[in-house]
């Protein structure tokens, strides 16, 4: 694999969290459509959750978690159920990565968002609703509480108490994240099979 295709790799992360305890956060909230006009992948972090973190006059809403100093620098975003539903915009994953998150935790991720996250070195960790609640409750009492996410072991731990849950990730995507492996390189290596398929398929539109 050439250097230019190598993506960020993740193995273990210990970090504080930013809790956004809202269900069904759709990609229009993560990054509103009016910010989708860029033609590169960079710079979207500034507008992450723009309409929730800013007032109409552009000033910051003090009580939105992303703006609260106590969560500053934390690299794990924790959100309510069914995170990332709606539009397929990969800009949603780009904005979360660009803002500085490595991991998103929820009790469910929408299909397309999950793929987009994995394709950009952002690890979506699906936990049980009970574990999610535990994290939200914990952060409310201790804003600096940390989680330990271990991709190799597929585990997420509340660092202080040791309470741990395992999470699912398909083995291929796990390998991609651990090694910076790239889907397109894999598919290009299958070019002969693709061309054979094209020839053999009787009804190829």
């Amino acid at each position: 694999m050439s250097d230019k295709n190598i993506k960020k790799t993740i193995s273990t992360l210990i970090s504080g969290v930013v809790p956004v305890n809202i269900d069904n956060i759709d990609t229009d909230q993560i990054i509103p459509a009016r910010f989708l006009k860029a033609t590169t992948r960079e710079g979207f972090g500034e507008n992450l959750f723009c309409d929730w973190k800013k007032n109409a006059d552009g000033s910051l809403k003090a009580d939105f978690p992303l703006n609260e100093p106590k969560y500053k620098g934390h690299r794990i975003l924790v959100a309510g159920n069914n995170f990332g539903c709606g539009s397929s915009r990969e800009h949603a994953a780009w904005s979360i990565v660009d803002y500085g998150f490595d991991v998103v935790v929820s009790s469910f991720f929408a299909d397309i968002f999950k793929n987009n996250a994995l394709n950009n070195g952002l690890l979506p960790v699906q936990v049980s609703p009970a574990f999610l609640k535990k994290i939200f409750d914990l952060v409310q009492t201790d804003a600096n509480a940390t989680l330990t996410v271990d991709l190799e072991a597929q585990s997420i731990k509340i660092t202080a108490t040791g309470e741990t849950e395992n999470f699912e990730i398909n083995p291929y995507k796990k390998m991609c994240l651990l090694k910076g492996f790239d889907d397109i390189d894999y598919l290009l290596s299958l070019k002969p099979q693709i061309e054979t398929y094209e020839k053999q398929r009787e009804f190829n539109f």
């Binding site: 069904n24 759709d26 909230q29 309510g80 539109f205």
Partner: protein, 465 residues
């Protein structure tokens, strides 16, 4: 054990399987637009790769385009740049573009079917979640991210895991004034905005069989609003009649061969689904959403849930949603004053939608304090509407008939609903800020939207028919 429609098509597209790896699936048609493609073209350049099969990718400009004066340069600089970038990229990589000014330009999910590019048995992807629309023809069609757009351009393939299968049956006779939009809004309310997460959904039953292709597209379009990987309907004579003779549809011997294949595309009687829902058409009234996800809907004569009826875990989200909408739990929506009506989007901007609205508003006028935008889905729809004199009916009604594009569905172009204003919209998403920052959206059918336009309020169209 028989096979589902989904599995028949999926199996026919598996190029390669390998233990521990996702399956490699061949893609027959790839649609692209200006918003989710620039970074993918950039990726190809960085890797020094061409578009592998240029004749299987088609492009149009829809999300960013203005719906007024399309012959003039786009005023907004960033939108103009993105549209120009599409022109540059498609020309450099040899991809066919139906850009602004082209006779085939329009919303990507409207033009694919109307040009006969979308066909039964295909696998179709596009960097747009409403790609599920094309499933109405009995194909596997779903939205992808930009990394995957690059992947498909580079290899004509995508990596997939087989989803679970869901069947949703609707049987019975639809009541007066009830359309396919009401069916899908009703279903999403019943199973929730996350109810089909992880499933490929097949819509079946005699009510679905009785629908036109355009009505079926409306249903499959919103499969993604309940989280479905894709939505699909087995092709039948209505499908074949719709396709035959269209610009890029197979002709002559190719047609006969295609037709013979298409007739094998249905779920076998003994095929097994992971989940099955069954609904009665008679239970569906004109449907409308009140909240900020498409699963928050009620019958037009119904009331919003009371706070007490919402389970504790959902109370915060429910309250946040109704606060945003400035509505009170337990109230009715009937009679609620509205400010805007938007008839358009990949859900409801086809010629049948425009005919339905025109038929209703003929000799009527919009309420004085309501602004009404009606946006044809494509240049071809626009041309047909004018040929049928619908433009005159809309003009007399005070409706603003504009040029094709995604328009006020997503607040990305010039058409936005102002903050705090209420809009009855035939589009697919009522998310916070979707139609513009602070905009408040009620999703409904074109008929319910037209009824709101003439009364200035949320109204039961059945009384006005």
């Amino acid at each position: 054990m028989g096979k589902t429609l989904f599995d028949k098509i999926y199996d026919a597209h598996v190029v390669h399987t390998q233990e521990g790896f996702p399956e490699v699936i061949y893609i027959n048609t790839h649609y692209i637009h200006e918003v989710t493609s620039p970074q993918a073209f950039d990726g190809l350049r960085k890797r020094n790769l061409p578009v592998f099969r240029t004749n299987k990718t088609r492009a149009t400009a829809d999300h960013n385009v203005p719906t007024k004066d399309q012959h003039l340069p786009i005023k907004e600089a960033l939108s103009r740049l993105q549209v120009e970038m599409l022109t540059k990229n498609t020309s450099e990589f040899g991809v066919e573009l139906y850009g602004l000014g082209h006779q085939y330009q329009g919303i990507v999910h409207v033009i694919g079917p109307e040009l006969g590019i979308t066909l039964p048995g295909m696998t179709i992807v596009c960097g747009d979640s409403h790609t599920s629309t094309h499933g109405a023809f009995g194909c596997i069609a779903f939205g992808i991210g930009t990394s995957e757009v690059e992947m498909v351009m580079a290899t004509q393939c995508i990596l997939q895991y087989r989803p679970k299968k869901m069947k949703i049956e609707i049987n019975g006779k639809l009541g007066k004034g009830v359309t396919s939009k009401d069916i899908i809004l009703y279903i999403i309310t019943q199973i929730s905005a996350a109810g089909a997460n992880g499933y490929a959904v097949e819509f079946a039953g005699d009510t679905i069989r009785g629908l036109s292709m355009e009505a079926r597209m409306t249903i499959c379009n919103m499969s993604i609003e309940m989280g479905g990987r894709c939505g699909m309907i087995a092709p039948d004579q209505i499908t074949f009649d719709y396709i035959q003779g269209r610009e890029f549809a197979p002709k002559g011997a190719d047609w006969d061969k295609a037709l013979a294949y298409w007739k094998t595309l249905y779920s076998d009687a003994d095929a097994s689904f992971d989940k099955v829902y069954s609904f009665k058409a008679e239970d569906i009234e004109p449907w409308i959403t009140y909240g900020t996800n498409p699963g928050m809907g009620i019958g037009i004569t119904g009331s919003m849930p009371s706070l007490a009826s919402i389970i504790d875990a959902d109370k915060t989200s429910f309250k946040k949603s109704l606060d945003y909408m400035d509505l009170h739990p337990g109230d009715q929506l009937l009679g609620k004053k509205i400010d805007y009506v938007f008839i358009g989007s990949c859900t409801n901007s086809r010629i049948e939608d425009l005919r339905l609205v025109a038929d209703f508003v003929k000799d009527k006028r919009k309420a004085d304090d309501v602004e009404v935008w009606i946006i044809p889905g494509s240049k071809q729809v626009e041309k047909q509407a004018i040929a049928e004199g619908l433009d005159v009916i809309f003009k007399n009604a005070g409706f603003d008939l504009r040029e094709p594009g995604c328009s006020a569905c997503l607040g990305m172009n010039e058409d936005k609903v102002p903050a705090g204003k209420y809009c009855v919209s035939t589009s697919n998403r009522n998310f916070e800020g979707r139609q513009g920052p602070g905009a408040r959206t009620f999703l409904a059918s074109p008929l319910t939207a037209a009824a709101a336009a003439v009364t200035g309020k949320i109204a039961d169209v059945r009384i006005l028919l």
